[in-house]
Symmetry: C2
Amino acid sequence: MSKLIFVTGNANKLKEVKAILSAGSTPIDIDSESLDSKYALFRRDLPFRYVSRILVDEVQGSTQEVAKAKCRRAAELLKGPCITEDTALCFEALGGLPGPYIKHFLEKLGHEGINNMLVGFESKKAWALCTFAYCAGPGEEPILFEGRTDGAIVPARGPAKFGWDPVFEPAGTGLTYAEMPAEQKNLLSHRYKALEKLRVYIQSL
Amino acid sequence: MSKLIFVTGNANKLKEVKAILSAGSTPIDIDSESLDSKYALFRRDLPFRYVSRILVDEVQGSTQEVAKAKCRRAAELLKGPCITEDTALCFEALGGLPGPYIKHFLEKLGHEGINNMLVGFESKKAWALCTFAYCAGPGEEPILFEGRTDGAIVPARGPAKFGWDPVFEPAGTGLTYAEMPAEQKNLLSHRYKALEKLRVYIQSL
């Protein structure tokens, strides 16, 4: 199969994904590039390093609609197979919202504000949802691989390096994502669960 | 100029827009159609009534990015001039959010939940923002017309007929949008202010 392009604008996500995929018995080769600006697509073709940068809008809708639209569009622009990744943080009290819009809320509100949004509600339960999408090429229907980790929104604990990691505590761990060693997080995270499904699928191709 | 197409999926918005535009000294003729499903575009060509239904995704981003992307796409699909409308409800405490995502929050949380989101914050201030976009045709850059009305989020009062109208009280009125007679609302609403700007522009074409 053609080399897969992983589309991301987030260096930390890229690092997590590479760590998880390269840890298996049959490591998967993914061509990737991270950068500051959002949803940029990079293509690196040997022997030249050719980089084309394209912006993909994220749509509004359910996590599945958001994931499919982005992956479909990325495959059109890249003219080849690609995977995309979307992360949502869903609050039980808000009927699953902010969900796919969490990054906008985190940006505007910070960790304290995220907690404050739930002051008026009894439930602080939340689930982290990762959706990987694979699209075989232009015009193909993307296939989704979802991973979910249940937990709760808590006042920030641990290093504030990676998004909302300090305010999400997976159930039964007593630790926020931010407080966990990378190895522990990689084994129970929403991203890990989704990636495992994706890996099985890709290796069957 | 060609007949303008007003793109909307909301019968109440359509009614308001028609009322405001037809009230002026030089009423503007707008071909329109309302329907249940979101962001559908309708085209009615005489003598036949030809209706083509096309779905346009709404993107994530600022209110301006959301408005421009939708109008640009609608003009491409309709192959002609069109106007689109976007409404946002922005909470001061949330840095302007939910903003363009308000419809999703309203759908999941209802009026009580919308209020509960602000329990943990001192400020209940909010502003209603209407953005009309006009696009002259495919490939043209949309022009935006914004109207803003300042006020506060309050427990619901008045008939629950139109979205978040019962929980938004424009400053200095003592009434929620829902409690006002249509004539009063049409003269101070965010939509009216944006439409006035749009009307002046369209009449100059």
